[in-house]
């Protein structure tokens, strides 16, 4: 018995005396499943949102052979620990996870229309009121890129209408400069009677064609 125990101790001693192989240093892992965590792909969440007009589009998420079609407000495709699922999130959950991100989203590019009194670069009374709202909206935007395009109706000579449409655009550019938008960020063009909002024959007095379009991005 004693011999057996002594023998075992000698063998163990011999094993411990062996120097550890240099190419495989012994490392104590802080967590037993660390290896598994490293192998795992990143977790992912994709959520489709209703747009400002209430419409919800479609996002198709292709992950390996799997395909998730998201077309309802706040429908989500999730990959967690390598497992994929379709789920439904709430507005509040999206806000919590993406609040800072959504706040950084720039204002959507948009277009405004202003209308003019016949043969002049004077705004109609209605458009004078509208102009205040447009200027307020433009002031909210950081570094707006603005394109101002003037148009006329079909009354009068096309050449005169080219000049009139350019004057209308320049007049509106002046309003924008007045509220502090740098002139370099505002481009203008006069399109004369080439681009009617409401198609008409020649020499037709059509108020909706006497306009300036302000496109802002």
């Amino acid at each position: 018995m004693l011999v057996l125990v002594l023998g075992a101790l000698v063998i163990l001693g011999a094993i411990y005396a062996q120097p550890a192989p240099l190419e495989e240093p012994v490392v104590v892992l802080p967590s037993p499943d660390r290896h598994i965590v490293v192998q795992r792909p990143p977790d992912e969440t994709v959520v489709v949102l209703p747009s400002a007009d209430g419409h919800t589009g479609t996002v198709i998420v292709q992950r390996g052979g799997e395909r998730h079609v998201l077309n309802k407000p706040f429908a989500a495709s999730r990959l967690t620990g390598g497992k994929a699922e379709i789920t439904q999130l709430s507005d509040a959950e999206v806000r919590q996870s993406f609040g800072v991100t959504l706040q950084a989203l720039p204002a959507m590019p948009t277009t405004f229309l202003l209308y003019f009194i016949t043969a002049t670069d004077e705004l109609t009374d209605e458009s004078k009121g509208e102009l205040k709202k447009i200027l307020a909206a433009l002031k909210q935007r950081a570094v707006p890129d603005i394109m101002v395009v003037g148009h006329t109706d079909t009354v009068g000579e096309p050449e005169r209408n080219d000049l009139l449409s350019a004057r209308r655009a320049e007049r509106v550019k002046g309003f924008l400069i007045e509220i502090g938008i740098p002139a370099g960020q505002i481009q203008t063009a006069g399109r004369g009677e080439r681009e009617l909002l409401v198609p008409t024959a020649d020499n037709v007095d059509e108020p909706r064609n006497r306009r300036v379009e302000i496109s802002v991005r």
């Binding site: 992912e44 996002v59 992950r63």
Partner: protein, 145 residues
Amino acid sequence: MRWTLLACLFCFAAGVWAGDVGQIKAAAGAVFLERQGERLPATVGMPVQESDTLVTGADGSAGVTFSDNSVLSVGPGSVLAIERYAFDSTTHNGHFDASLKKGTLAVVSGKMVKQSPDAMRVRTPSSIMGVRGTEFVVKVTEPGS
């Protein structure tokens, strides 16, 4: 025709370089654009080009508007590569491939997606997303974070 003319006027007047596809409209905290191996601090008004990578620090967020009127933003700790971008303002044809390596992304698709539904694709490490005229958000969380 109309937009070609306008685009020409615009490029001429604003001196916009042909490679510019978008513009930084919002930047808070640490925000960088990686361009051809260089890391440039990103500021509001700075143009964005194809092949740029948008990087934000732990306190960073940024918003970009593109020439087809699509807009996107990234939240803190994000890496977003604008891999391919082209947009024809006359036909509205184009393509937009972006890749979110990590962090968060919000997207509102623009004119090229209206014109052809397959024009925009967003990748993550495990997925490819096709976009059909919509607004959506994406989050990629790295292992152990």
